[in-house]
Protein backbone atom coordinates (compact mmCIF):
# COMPACT_ATOMS: atom_id res chain seq x y z
CA UNK A 1 0.00 0.00 0.00
CA UNK A 2 2.82 2.40 0.85
CA UNK A 3 4.45 1.47 -2.46
CA UNK A 4 1.28 2.49 -4.26
CA UNK A 5 1.16 5.74 -2.28
CA UNK A 6 4.74 6.59 -3.28
CA UNK A 7 4.04 5.65 -6.90
CA UNK A 8 0.97 7.90 -7.04
CA UNK A 9 2.67 10.77 -5.23
CA UNK A 10 5.70 10.68 -7.53
CA UNK A 11 3.48 10.52 -10.63
CA UNK A 12 1.52 13.53 -9.32
CA UNK A 13 4.77 15.43 -8.70
CA UNK A 14 5.96 14.52 -12.21
CA UNK A 15 2.76 15.78 -13.89
CA UNK A 16 2.67 18.94 -11.78
CA UNK A 17 6.28 19.73 -12.70
CA UNK A 18 5.56 18.88 -16.36
CA UNK A 19 2.76 21.46 -16.44
CA UNK A 20 4.88 24.01 -14.56
CA UNK A 21 7.67 23.45 -17.08
CA UNK A 22 5.32 24.07 -20.01
CA UNK A 23 4.32 27.29 -18.23
CA UNK A 24 8.02 28.24 -17.97
CA UNK A 25 8.48 27.66 -21.71
CA UNK A 26 5.38 29.74 -22.47
CA UNK A 27 6.56 32.50 -20.14
CA UNK A 28 9.94 32.66 -21.84
CA UNK A 29 8.36 32.67 -25.30
CA UNK A 30 5.87 35.42 -24.41
CA UNK A 31 8.74 37.46 -22.99
CA UNK A 32 10.77 37.11 -26.22
CA UNK A 33 7.78 37.99 -28.42
CA UNK A 34 6.83 40.86 -26.10
CA UNK A 35 10.34 42.29 -26.14
CA UNK A 36 10.81 42.19 -29.91
CA UNK A 37 7.30 42.91 -31.16
CA UNK A 38 5.61 44.96 -28.46
CA UNK A 39 8.51 46.49 -26.56
CA UNK A 40 7.55 45.16 -23.12
CA UNK A 41 8.65 42.32 -20.85
CA UNK A 42 7.07 40.51 -17.95
CA UNK A 43 8.98 41.72 -14.91
CA UNK A 44 10.36 38.86 -12.84
CA UNK A 45 9.59 36.18 -15.41
CA UNK A 46 13.23 35.04 -15.39
CA UNK A 47 13.03 34.45 -11.64
CA UNK A 48 9.82 32.47 -11.93
CA UNK A 49 11.36 30.28 -14.66
CA UNK A 50 14.46 29.65 -12.54
CA UNK A 51 12.32 28.71 -9.54
CA UNK A 52 10.38 26.25 -11.70
CA UNK A 53 13.73 24.73 -12.72
CA UNK A 54 14.73 24.55 -9.05
CA UNK A 55 11.51 22.61 -8.40
CA UNK A 56 12.22 20.33 -11.36
CA UNK A 57 15.69 19.66 -9.99
CA UNK A 58 14.94 18.82 -6.39
CA UNK A 59 11.40 17.42 -6.74
CA UNK A 60 12.25 15.76 -10.06
CA UNK A 61 15.04 13.98 -8.19
CA UNK A 62 12.35 12.43 -5.96
CA UNK A 63 10.70 10.88 -9.05
CA UNK A 64 14.11 9.70 -10.27
CA UNK A 65 14.84 8.16 -6.86
CA UNK A 66 11.52 6.33 -6.76
CA UNK A 67 12.13 4.89 -10.24
CA UNK A 68 15.78 4.11 -9.39
CA UNK A 69 17.07 6.02 -12.40
CA UNK A 70 19.85 8.06 -10.81
CA UNK A 71 23.01 8.31 -12.89
CA UNK A 72 25.77 6.12 -11.51
CA UNK A 73 28.88 4.30 -12.64
CA UNK A 74 27.93 0.76 -11.67
CA UNK A 75 30.09 -1.21 -14.09
CA UNK A 76 32.30 -2.63 -11.33
CA UNK A 77 29.44 -3.17 -8.89
CA UNK A 78 27.57 -5.25 -11.46
CA UNK A 79 30.56 -7.57 -11.77
CA UNK A 80 30.51 -8.32 -8.01
CA UNK A 81 28.92 -11.52 -6.62
CA UNK A 82 25.27 -11.30 -5.52
CA UNK A 83 25.96 -11.04 -1.74
CA UNK A 84 28.35 -8.11 -2.33
CA UNK A 85 25.77 -6.43 -4.56
CA UNK A 86 23.15 -6.88 -1.82
CA UNK A 87 25.53 -5.36 0.74
CA UNK A 88 26.22 -2.40 -1.57
CA UNK A 89 22.48 -1.89 -2.01
CA UNK A 90 22.10 -1.70 1.79
CA UNK A 91 24.92 0.80 2.11
CA UNK A 92 23.44 2.79 -0.79
CA UNK A 93 20.07 3.09 0.98
CA UNK A 94 21.67 3.88 4.34
CA UNK A 95 23.91 6.58 2.83
CA UNK A 96 21.00 8.07 0.92
CA UNK A 97 18.82 8.20 4.01
CA UNK A 98 21.52 9.75 6.22
CA UNK A 99 22.88 12.26 3.67
CA UNK A 100 19.54 13.39 2.27
CA UNK A 101 18.16 13.56 5.82
CA UNK A 102 21.08 15.82 6.74
CA UNK A 103 20.55 18.08 3.72
CA UNK A 104 16.80 18.09 4.43
CA UNK A 105 17.48 19.40 7.93
CA UNK A 106 19.82 22.13 6.68
CA UNK A 107 17.53 23.15 3.80
CA UNK A 108 14.40 23.12 5.95
CA UNK A 109 16.12 25.29 8.56
CA UNK A 110 17.15 27.74 5.84
CA UNK A 111 13.67 27.77 4.28
CA UNK A 112 12.13 28.38 7.71
CA UNK A 113 14.46 31.35 8.22
CA UNK A 114 13.33 32.75 4.86
CA UNK A 115 9.73 32.28 5.96
CA UNK A 116 10.30 34.01 9.31
CA UNK A 117 12.14 36.92 7.69
CA UNK A 118 9.44 37.25 5.01
CA UNK A 119 12.10 37.43 2.27
CA UNK A 120 10.78 38.00 -1.25
CA UNK A 121 12.62 37.48 -4.55
CA UNK A 122 14.17 40.59 -6.12
CA UNK A 123 11.75 41.26 -8.99
CA UNK A 124 8.90 38.73 -9.01
CA UNK A 125 8.20 39.07 -5.26
CA UNK A 126 7.99 35.31 -4.86
CA UNK A 127 8.31 34.37 -1.15
CA UNK A 128 11.81 32.85 -1.00
CA UNK A 129 10.75 30.08 1.37
CA UNK A 130 8.96 28.46 -1.59
CA UNK A 131 11.99 27.67 -3.81
CA UNK A 132 14.19 26.94 -0.78
CA UNK A 133 11.38 24.79 0.64
CA UNK A 134 11.23 22.86 -2.65
CA UNK A 135 14.84 21.79 -2.07
CA UNK A 136 14.01 20.77 1.52
CA UNK A 137 10.89 18.90 0.41
CA UNK A 138 12.82 17.09 -2.32
CA UNK A 139 15.54 15.86 0.02
CA UNK A 140 12.93 15.02 2.68
CA UNK A 141 10.97 12.83 0.26
CA UNK A 142 14.16 11.14 -0.99
CA UNK A 143 14.99 10.35 2.66
CA UNK A 144 11.54 8.83 3.15
CA UNK A 145 11.90 6.69 0.01
CA UNK A 146 15.34 5.47 1.12
CA UNK A 147 14.06 4.65 4.63
CA UNK A 148 11.03 2.84 3.24
CA UNK A 149 13.16 0.83 0.81
CA UNK A 150 15.49 -0.04 3.70
CA UNK A 151 12.54 -1.27 5.78
CA UNK A 152 11.27 -3.37 2.85
CA UNK A 153 14.75 -4.82 2.32
CA UNK A 154 15.00 -5.78 6.02
CA UNK A 155 11.54 -7.38 5.99
CA UNK A 156 12.32 -9.30 2.82
CA UNK A 157 15.67 -10.45 4.20
CA UNK A 158 13.98 -11.66 7.39
CA UNK A 159 11.27 -13.38 5.39
CA UNK A 160 13.88 -15.22 3.38
CA UNK A 161 15.76 -16.19 6.56
CA UNK A 162 12.55 -17.38 8.25
CA UNK A 163 11.70 -19.47 5.21
CA UNK A 164 15.21 -20.90 5.16
CA UNK A 165 15.04 -21.74 8.86
CA UNK A 166 11.59 -23.30 8.61
CA UNK A 167 12.75 -25.21 5.53
CA UNK A 168 15.76 -26.53 7.49
CA UNK A 169 13.50 -27.63 10.35
CA UNK A 170 11.14 -29.44 8.00
CA UNK A 171 13.86 -31.07 5.91
CA UNK A 172 14.26 -34.82 6.57
CA UNK A 173 17.57 -35.84 8.20
CA UNK A 174 20.05 -36.99 5.64
Amino acid sequence: MIDRLFARATRAIELLLALAFIAAVALNFVNVVGRYLLGWTILGSDEVQIFIMVGMTFLGAVVVTWREQHLRMDVIARLCPAPVQALLRWIDLALMAVLCGFVFYESATYAYQMFRLGRLSDTADVPMWIPHGAAALGFGLITLIAVWRGVVAVLRHRGVQDRLESGAREAPPS
Binding site: V64, L71, R72, E106
Partner: protein
Protein backbone atom coordinates in the same frame (compact mmCIF):
# COMPACT_ATOMS: atom_id res chain seq x y z
CA UNK B 1 40.70 16.82 3.77
CA UNK B 2 42.30 14.56 1.15
CA UNK B 3 40.14 11.78 2.55
CA UNK B 4 36.91 13.80 2.19
CA UNK B 5 37.56 15.33 -1.23
CA UNK B 6 39.72 12.59 -2.76
CA UNK B 7 39.27 9.14 -1.23
CA UNK B 8 35.52 9.26 -0.43
CA UNK B 9 34.31 10.30 -3.92
CA UNK B 10 36.63 7.91 -5.78
CA UNK B 11 35.73 4.89 -3.62
CA UNK B 12 31.98 5.56 -3.65
CA UNK B 13 32.03 6.24 -7.40
CA UNK B 14 33.78 2.94 -8.09
CA UNK B 15 31.32 1.10 -5.85
CA UNK B 16 28.49 2.28 -8.08
CA UNK B 17 26.59 4.66 -5.81
CA UNK B 18 24.47 7.40 -7.42
CA UNK B 19 26.75 10.28 -8.44
CA UNK B 20 24.79 12.86 -6.45
CA UNK B 21 25.21 10.70 -3.33
CA UNK B 22 28.95 10.37 -4.05
CA UNK B 23 29.26 14.16 -4.14
CA UNK B 24 26.99 14.72 -1.13
CA UNK B 25 28.99 12.20 0.92
CA UNK B 26 32.21 13.95 0.01
CA UNK B 27 31.03 17.49 0.76
CA UNK B 28 29.17 16.50 3.93
CA UNK B 29 32.27 14.71 5.28
CA UNK B 30 34.40 17.77 4.50
CA UNK B 31 31.97 20.26 6.02
CA UNK B 32 31.17 18.27 9.18
CA UNK B 33 34.58 16.82 10.05
CA UNK B 34 37.23 19.05 8.49
CA UNK B 35 35.97 22.61 8.11
CA UNK B 36 34.76 25.32 10.40
CA UNK B 37 32.06 26.97 8.30
CA UNK B 38 28.33 27.23 9.07
CA UNK B 39 26.55 24.16 7.69
CA UNK B 40 24.01 26.46 6.04
CA UNK B 41 26.71 26.88 3.37
CA UNK B 42 25.71 23.43 2.13
CA UNK B 43 22.18 24.49 1.26
CA UNK B 44 23.27 27.91 0.00
CA UNK B 45 25.69 26.35 -2.47
CA UNK B 46 23.27 23.61 -3.55
CA UNK B 47 20.62 26.21 -4.28
CA UNK B 48 23.05 28.74 -5.75
CA UNK B 49 24.43 26.21 -8.26
CA UNK B 50 20.97 25.77 -9.81
CA UNK B 51 19.87 29.40 -9.46
CA UNK B 52 21.29 30.33 -12.91
CA UNK B 53 19.25 31.50 -15.90
CA UNK B 54 21.73 29.96 -18.38
CA UNK B 55 21.01 26.46 -17.04
CA UNK B 56 17.38 26.76 -18.15
CA UNK B 57 18.63 26.04 -21.67
CA UNK B 58 19.29 22.42 -20.62
CA UNK B 59 15.64 21.39 -20.04
CA UNK B 60 14.46 23.66 -22.86
CA UNK B 61 16.69 22.00 -25.48
CA UNK B 62 15.83 18.53 -24.12
CA UNK B 63 12.14 19.34 -24.50
CA UNK B 64 12.53 20.64 -28.06
CA UNK B 65 14.43 17.46 -29.04
CA UNK B 66 11.91 15.27 -27.23
CA UNK B 67 9.00 16.84 -29.15
CA UNK B 68 10.78 16.65 -32.51
CA UNK B 69 11.81 13.00 -32.06
CA UNK B 70 8.27 11.79 -31.30
CA UNK B 71 6.83 12.38 -34.76
CA UNK B 72 8.01 11.85 -38.33
CA UNK B 73 10.75 14.50 -38.18
CA UNK B 74 13.54 11.91 -38.50
CA UNK B 75 11.96 10.33 -41.60
CA UNK B 76 11.44 13.76 -43.22
CA UNK B 77 15.07 14.72 -42.57
CA UNK B 78 16.27 11.36 -43.93
CA UNK B 79 14.20 11.83 -47.11
CA UNK B 80 15.61 15.34 -47.58
CA UNK B 81 19.27 14.35 -47.10
CA UNK B 82 18.91 11.18 -49.20
CA UNK B 83 17.35 13.10 -52.07
CA UNK B 84 20.30 15.50 -51.95
CA UNK B 85 22.97 12.80 -51.71
CA UNK B 86 21.81 11.07 -54.90
CA UNK B 87 23.81 8.23 -56.44
CA UNK B 88 26.97 8.58 -54.35
CA UNK B 89 28.46 5.21 -53.34
CA UNK B 90 27.29 4.42 -49.81
CA UNK B 91 24.46 6.93 -50.15
CA UNK B 92 22.43 5.47 -47.26
CA UNK B 93 25.48 5.66 -44.99
CA UNK B 94 26.18 9.23 -46.05
CA UNK B 95 22.48 10.01 -45.49
CA UNK B 96 22.80 8.59 -41.95
CA UNK B 97 25.73 10.90 -41.23
CA UNK B 98 24.05 13.96 -42.77
CA UNK B 99 20.72 13.37 -41.04
CA UNK B 100 22.43 12.90 -37.68
CA UNK B 101 24.32 16.16 -38.12
CA UNK B 102 21.07 18.03 -38.85
CA UNK B 103 19.25 16.22 -36.04
CA UNK B 104 22.12 17.23 -33.78
CA UNK B 105 21.34 20.84 -34.56
CA UNK B 106 17.84 20.23 -33.16
CA UNK B 107 18.19 17.94 -30.19
CA UNK B 108 21.67 17.69 -28.67
CA UNK B 109 20.94 14.32 -27.02
CA UNK B 110 23.10 11.59 -28.51
CA UNK B 111 21.15 8.51 -27.42
CA UNK B 112 17.93 9.96 -28.88
CA UNK B 113 19.64 10.32 -32.25
CA UNK B 114 20.93 6.74 -32.23
CA UNK B 115 17.42 5.51 -31.46
CA UNK B 116 15.50 7.84 -33.78
CA UNK B 117 17.80 7.80 -36.83
CA UNK B 118 18.78 4.18 -36.21
CA UNK B 119 15.19 2.96 -36.38
CA UNK B 120 14.84 4.50 -39.86
CA UNK B 121 18.30 3.94 -41.35
CA UNK B 122 19.51 0.61 -39.94
CA UNK B 123 16.81 -1.57 -41.56
CA UNK B 124 17.22 0.40 -44.81
CA UNK B 125 20.99 -0.22 -44.88
CA UNK B 126 20.57 -3.94 -44.14
CA UNK B 127 17.93 -4.24 -46.92
CA UNK B 128 20.32 -2.47 -49.31
CA UNK B 129 23.04 -5.06 -48.62
CA UNK B 130 25.36 -3.08 -46.31
CA UNK B 131 27.50 -5.38 -44.11
CA UNK B 132 25.78 -5.89 -40.74
CA UNK B 133 28.84 -4.89 -38.70
CA UNK B 134 29.33 -1.72 -40.77
CA UNK B 135 25.68 -0.62 -40.40
CA UNK B 136 25.71 -1.37 -36.64
CA UNK B 137 29.00 0.51 -36.12
CA UNK B 138 27.89 3.55 -38.12
CA UNK B 139 24.51 3.90 -36.37
CA UNK B 140 26.13 3.55 -32.94
CA UNK B 141 28.95 6.00 -33.64
CA UNK B 142 27.13 8.69 -35.56
CA UNK B 143 24.97 9.87 -32.64
CA UNK B 144 28.06 11.26 -30.91
CA UNK B 145 28.17 14.14 -33.42
CA UNK B 146 25.04 15.44 -31.71
CA UNK B 147 26.77 16.66 -28.60
CA UNK B 148 29.46 18.43 -30.64
CA UNK B 149 27.21 20.27 -33.08
CA UNK B 150 25.23 22.97 -31.24
CA UNK B 151 22.88 23.01 -29.42
CA UNK B 152 24.84 20.76 -27.10
CA UNK B 153 23.76 20.01 -23.54
CA UNK B 154 27.31 19.12 -22.38
CA UNK B 155 28.52 22.50 -23.64
CA UNK B 156 25.89 24.33 -21.56
CA UNK B 157 26.98 22.37 -18.49
CA UNK B 158 30.67 22.99 -19.27
CA UNK B 159 29.85 26.70 -19.72
CA UNK B 160 28.26 26.77 -16.26
CA UNK B 161 31.10 24.77 -14.66
CA UNK B 162 33.94 26.69 -16.33
CA UNK B 163 32.20 30.10 -16.36
CA UNK B 164 32.53 30.25 -20.14
CA UNK B 165 30.10 31.79 -22.63
CA UNK B 166 27.71 29.26 -24.16
CA UNK B 167 27.30 31.15 -27.50
CA UNK B 168 31.11 31.10 -27.88
CA UNK B 169 31.21 27.38 -27.14
CA UNK B 170 28.36 26.75 -29.59
CA UNK B 171 30.12 28.75 -32.30
CA UNK B 172 33.33 26.82 -31.65
CA UNK B 173 31.53 23.46 -31.93
CA UNK B 174 30.22 23.94 -35.47
CA UNK B 175 33.43 23.30 -37.46
CA UNK B 176 34.64 20.33 -35.34
CA UNK B 177 31.17 18.75 -35.65
CA UNK B 178 31.13 19.23 -39.42
CA UNK B 179 34.73 17.99 -39.67
CA UNK B 180 33.81 14.73 -37.94
CA UNK B 181 30.70 14.37 -40.15
CA UNK B 182 32.88 14.91 -43.25
CA UNK B 183 35.46 12.36 -42.08
CA UNK B 184 32.73 9.80 -41.39
CA UNK B 185 31.06 10.40 -44.77
CA UNK B 186 34.41 10.08 -46.56
CA UNK B 187 35.10 6.79 -44.81
CA UNK B 188 31.59 5.51 -45.68
CA UNK B 189 32.10 6.35 -49.39
CA UNK B 190 35.60 4.78 -49.45
CA UNK B 191 34.40 1.59 -47.78
CA UNK B 192 31.33 1.33 -50.05
CA UNK B 193 33.48 1.74 -53.15
CA UNK B 194 36.07 -0.77 -51.87
CA UNK B 195 33.52 -3.44 -50.93
CA UNK B 196 31.09 -2.58 -53.72
CA UNK B 197 27.88 -1.95 -51.80
CA UNK B 198 25.36 0.85 -51.42
CA UNK B 199 24.79 2.33 -54.89
CA UNK B 200 22.19 5.10 -54.56
CA UNK B 201 19.42 6.37 -56.80
CA UNK B 202 20.44 9.13 -59.22
CA UNK B 203 19.79 12.72 -58.16
CA UNK B 204 16.50 14.17 -59.44
CA UNK B 205 15.49 17.78 -58.96
CA UNK B 206 11.77 16.91 -58.74
CA UNK B 207 12.40 14.34 -56.00
CA UNK B 208 14.77 16.67 -54.15
CA UNK B 209 12.32 19.61 -54.20
CA UNK B 210 9.47 17.40 -52.97
CA UNK B 211 11.65 16.06 -50.11
CA UNK B 212 12.75 19.62 -49.29
CA UNK B 213 9.11 20.69 -49.10
CA UNK B 214 8.28 17.79 -46.78
CA UNK B 215 11.32 18.48 -44.62
CA UNK B 216 11.10 22.28 -44.55
CA UNK B 217 9.28 22.49 -41.21
CA UNK B 218 11.76 20.08 -39.61
CA UNK B 219 14.69 22.07 -41.02
CA UNK B 220 13.17 25.24 -39.56
CA UNK B 221 14.17 24.25 -36.01
CA UNK B 222 17.97 24.43 -36.47
CA UNK B 223 17.54 27.59 -38.53
CA UNK B 224 15.65 29.24 -35.66
CA UNK B 225 18.06 27.98 -32.98
CA UNK B 226 21.38 28.74 -34.66
CA UNK B 227 20.17 31.72 -36.71
CA UNK B 228 18.58 33.22 -33.60
CA UNK B 229 21.71 32.85 -31.47
CA UNK B 230 24.26 34.02 -34.06
CA UNK B 231 21.96 36.66 -35.49
CA UNK B 232 22.01 38.22 -32.03
CA UNK B 233 18.24 37.82 -31.70
CA UNK B 234 18.11 35.37 -28.79
CA UNK B 235 20.27 34.15 -25.95
CA UNK B 236 20.77 30.34 -26.03
CA UNK B 237 18.09 29.97 -23.34
CA UNK B 238 15.59 32.03 -25.33
CA UNK B 239 16.47 30.19 -28.55
CA UNK B 240 15.76 26.93 -26.74
CA UNK B 241 12.36 28.15 -25.52
CA UNK B 242 11.43 29.39 -29.01
CA UNK B 243 12.51 26.00 -30.41
CA UNK B 244 10.22 24.26 -27.89
CA UNK B 245 7.20 26.34 -28.96
CA UNK B 246 8.10 25.83 -32.63
CA UNK B 247 8.44 22.06 -32.15
CA UNK B 248 5.14 21.84 -30.25
CA UNK B 249 3.26 23.85 -32.88
CA UNK B 250 4.76 21.99 -35.86
CA UNK B 251 4.22 18.48 -34.45
CA UNK B 252 0.72 19.34 -33.13
CA UNK B 253 -0.76 21.49 -35.88
CA UNK B 254 1.35 21.05 -39.05
CA UNK B 255 2.27 17.35 -38.91
CA UNK B 256 -0.80 16.56 -36.73
CA UNK B 257 1.13 13.75 -35.06
CA UNK B 258 1.13 14.70 -31.36
CA UNK B 259 -1.86 15.07 -29.06
CA UNK B 260 -1.87 17.50 -26.14
CA UNK B 261 -1.29 14.49 -23.91
CA UNK B 262 1.91 13.68 -25.85
CA UNK B 263 3.13 17.23 -25.37
CA UNK B 264 2.63 16.92 -21.59
CA UNK B 265 4.30 13.47 -21.60
CA UNK B 266 7.30 14.91 -23.45
CA UNK B 267 7.46 17.54 -20.71
CA UNK B 268 7.30 14.80 -18.05
CA UNK B 269 10.24 13.04 -19.72
CA UNK B 270 12.12 16.35 -19.60
CA UNK B 271 11.33 16.67 -15.89
CA UNK B 272 12.81 13.23 -15.29
CA UNK B 273 15.98 14.11 -17.21
CA UNK B 274 16.28 17.40 -15.31
CA UNK B 275 15.92 15.55 -12.01
CA UNK B 276 18.69 13.15 -13.06
CA UNK B 277 21.16 15.76 -14.27
CA UNK B 278 20.61 19.02 -12.40
CA UNK B 279 20.69 17.33 -8.97
CA UNK B 280 24.28 16.39 -9.90
CA UNK B 281 24.92 19.97 -11.06
CA UNK B 282 23.71 21.19 -7.64
CA UNK B 283 25.92 18.77 -5.68
CA UNK B 284 28.89 19.33 -8.01
CA UNK B 285 28.55 23.07 -7.35
CA UNK B 286 29.18 22.48 -3.63
CA UNK B 287 32.04 20.11 -4.46
CA UNK B 288 33.66 22.72 -6.74
CA UNK B 289 33.26 25.40 -4.07
CA UNK B 290 34.98 23.18 -1.50
CA UNK B 291 37.83 22.45 -3.91
CA UNK B 292 38.30 26.17 -4.49
CA UNK B 293 38.21 27.26 -0.85
CA UNK B 294 40.67 24.49 0.00
CA UNK B 295 42.94 25.71 -2.82
CA UNK B 296 43.09 22.30 -4.53
CA UNK B 297 43.17 23.76 -8.10
CA UNK B 298 45.94 26.17 -7.03
CA UNK B 299 47.96 23.26 -5.63
CA UNK B 300 47.56 21.35 -8.90
CA UNK B 301 48.71 24.39 -10.91
CA UNK B 302 51.78 24.67 -8.64
CA UNK B 303 52.45 20.97 -9.23
CA UNK B 304 52.26 21.54 -13.00
CA UNK B 305 54.70 24.43 -12.76
CA UNK B 306 57.09 22.39 -10.62
CA UNK B 307 57.23 19.62 -13.22
CA UNK B 308 57.41 22.05 -16.18
CA UNK B 309 54.48 20.38 -17.93
CA UNK B 310 53.90 21.92 -21.35
CA UNK B 311 50.49 22.65 -22.90
CA UNK B 312 50.65 19.76 -25.38
CA UNK B 313 51.68 17.31 -22.67
CA UNK B 314 48.82 18.43 -20.44
CA UNK B 315 46.31 18.15 -23.30
CA UNK B 316 47.59 14.66 -24.13
CA UNK B 317 47.28 13.58 -20.50
CA UNK B 318 43.79 15.11 -20.22
CA UNK B 319 42.71 13.40 -23.45
CA UNK B 320 43.77 10.01 -22.12
CA UNK B 321 42.05 10.71 -18.79
CA UNK B 322 38.82 11.88 -20.44
CA UNK B 323 38.73 8.95 -22.85
CA UNK B 324 39.05 6.56 -19.91
CA UNK B 325 36.52 8.43 -17.79
CA UNK B 326 34.14 8.75 -20.76
CA UNK B 327 33.97 4.95 -21.04
CA UNK B 328 32.44 4.71 -17.58
CA UNK B 329 30.66 7.99 -16.74
CA UNK B 330 28.11 9.97 -18.73
CA UNK B 331 29.47 13.23 -20.22
CA UNK B 332 27.56 15.62 -17.97
CA UNK B 333 28.71 13.98 -14.74
CA UNK B 334 32.29 13.79 -16.06
CA UNK B 335 32.28 17.51 -16.93
CA UNK B 336 30.91 18.44 -13.51
CA UNK B 337 33.36 16.23 -11.64
CA UNK B 338 36.49 17.19 -13.56
CA UNK B 339 36.04 20.80 -14.69
CA UNK B 340 36.81 22.38 -11.30
CA UNK B 341 40.16 20.56 -11.34
CA UNK B 342 41.10 20.74 -15.02
CA UNK B 343 40.02 24.27 -16.02
CA UNK B 344 42.41 26.11 -13.63
CA UNK B 345 45.33 23.96 -14.89
CA UNK B 346 44.42 24.62 -18.50
CA UNK B 347 44.11 28.36 -17.85
CA UNK B 348 47.49 28.38 -16.11
CA UNK B 349 49.15 27.02 -19.27
CA UNK B 350 47.44 29.60 -21.48
CA UNK B 351 45.07 27.21 -23.26
CA UNK B 352 41.85 28.87 -24.40
CA UNK B 353 38.94 27.58 -22.26
CA UNK B 354 36.59 27.60 -25.28
CA UNK B 355 39.01 25.40 -27.21
CA UNK B 356 39.36 23.21 -24.13
CA UNK B 357 35.56 22.95 -23.85
CA UNK B 358 35.42 21.54 -27.38
CA UNK B 359 38.27 19.10 -26.62
CA UNK B 360 36.39 17.92 -23.52
CA UNK B 361 33.14 17.54 -25.47
CA UNK B 362 34.77 15.54 -28.31
CA UNK B 363 36.49 13.25 -25.79
CA UNK B 364 33.28 12.56 -23.94
CA UNK B 365 31.42 12.14 -27.23
CA UNK B 366 33.81 9.29 -28.06
CA UNK B 367 33.11 7.81 -24.62
CA UNK B 368 29.43 7.61 -25.60
CA UNK B 369 30.09 4.80 -28.07
CA UNK B 370 33.53 3.54 -27.05
CA UNK B 371 33.61 -0.20 -26.19
CA UNK B 372 32.97 -1.78 -23.81
CA UNK B 373 30.49 0.44 -21.94
CA UNK B 374 29.56 3.41 -24.16
CA UNK B 375 25.88 4.13 -23.56
CA UNK B 376 25.02 4.34 -27.28
CA UNK B 377 26.18 0.73 -27.72
CA UNK B 378 23.44 -0.38 -25.35
CA UNK B 379 20.90 1.98 -26.91
CA UNK B 380 21.61 0.43 -30.33
CA UNK B 381 21.47 -3.03 -28.82
CA UNK B 382 18.07 -2.53 -27.18
CA UNK B 383 16.33 -0.30 -29.75
CA UNK B 384 17.61 -2.01 -32.91
CA UNK B 385 17.89 -5.53 -31.48
CA UNK B 386 21.57 -5.84 -32.46
CA UNK B 387 24.06 -8.26 -30.95
CA UNK B 388 26.85 -6.74 -28.85
CA UNK B 389 29.51 -8.67 -30.81
CA UNK B 390 28.27 -7.17 -34.10
CA UNK B 391 28.37 -3.65 -32.66
CA UNK B 392 31.83 -4.11 -31.11
CA UNK B 393 33.29 -5.39 -34.38
CA UNK B 394 31.62 -2.65 -36.41
CA UNK B 395 32.50 0.24 -34.11
CA UNK B 396 36.31 -0.03 -34.26
CA UNK B 397 36.93 1.90 -37.53
CA UNK B 398 34.64 4.68 -36.33
CA UNK B 399 36.47 4.95 -32.99
CA UNK B 400 39.69 5.40 -34.98
CA UNK B 401 38.11 8.15 -37.13
CA UNK B 402 36.88 10.01 -34.05
CA UNK B 403 40.31 9.66 -32.40
CA UNK B 404 41.97 11.10 -35.52
CA UNK B 405 39.52 14.00 -35.41
CA UNK B 406 40.25 14.46 -31.70
CA UNK B 407 43.98 14.78 -32.37
CA UNK B 408 43.31 17.41 -35.06
CA UNK B 409 40.87 19.35 -32.86
CA UNK B 410 43.17 19.19 -29.82
CA UNK B 411 46.39 20.30 -31.52
CA UNK B 412 45.00 22.66 -34.17
CA UNK B 413 42.98 25.12 -32.05
CA UNK B 414 41.97 27.13 -35.11
CA UNK B 415 39.53 24.33 -36.04
CA UNK B 416 37.36 25.34 -33.11
CA UNK B 417 38.43 28.92 -32.48
CA UNK B 418 38.39 29.86 -36.20
CA UNK B 419 34.71 28.98 -36.47
CA UNK B 420 34.01 30.95 -33.32
CA UNK B 421 35.77 34.08 -34.62
CA UNK B 422 34.01 33.70 -37.96
CA UNK B 423 30.55 33.47 -36.41
CA UNK B 424 30.95 35.92 -33.55
CA UNK B 425 33.49 38.29 -35.05
Amino acid sequence: MTFALGVVPVVLLLLGFPIFIVLLASVSTALVFYMHVPLAALHQNLFGSINQFALLAVPFFIYAGELMSRGSVAQRLVDFVQAGVGSVRGSLGVTTVGTSAIFGAISGVSAATVATIGKVMHPAMIRAGYPATFAAGLITAVGAIDIIIPPSIPMIVYGAAAEESVPRLYAAGVVPGLLIALMLATYVMWRARKENFGAGDPFEWRHFLRATGRGAWALGAPVIILGGIYGGVFSPTEAAAVACVYAALVTRFVFRELLWRDIVEASATTVLFTGQVLIIVACAGVFAWLLTVNQVPAAMVAWLNAFHVSAWQLLLAINVLLLLVGCFIDPLSAILLLSPLLVPMVKALGIDTVHFGIVVTVNLAIGLFHPPFGINIFVAQSVLGLELGTIYRGIIPFVIIYLAALVLITYIPVISLGGMHLLLG
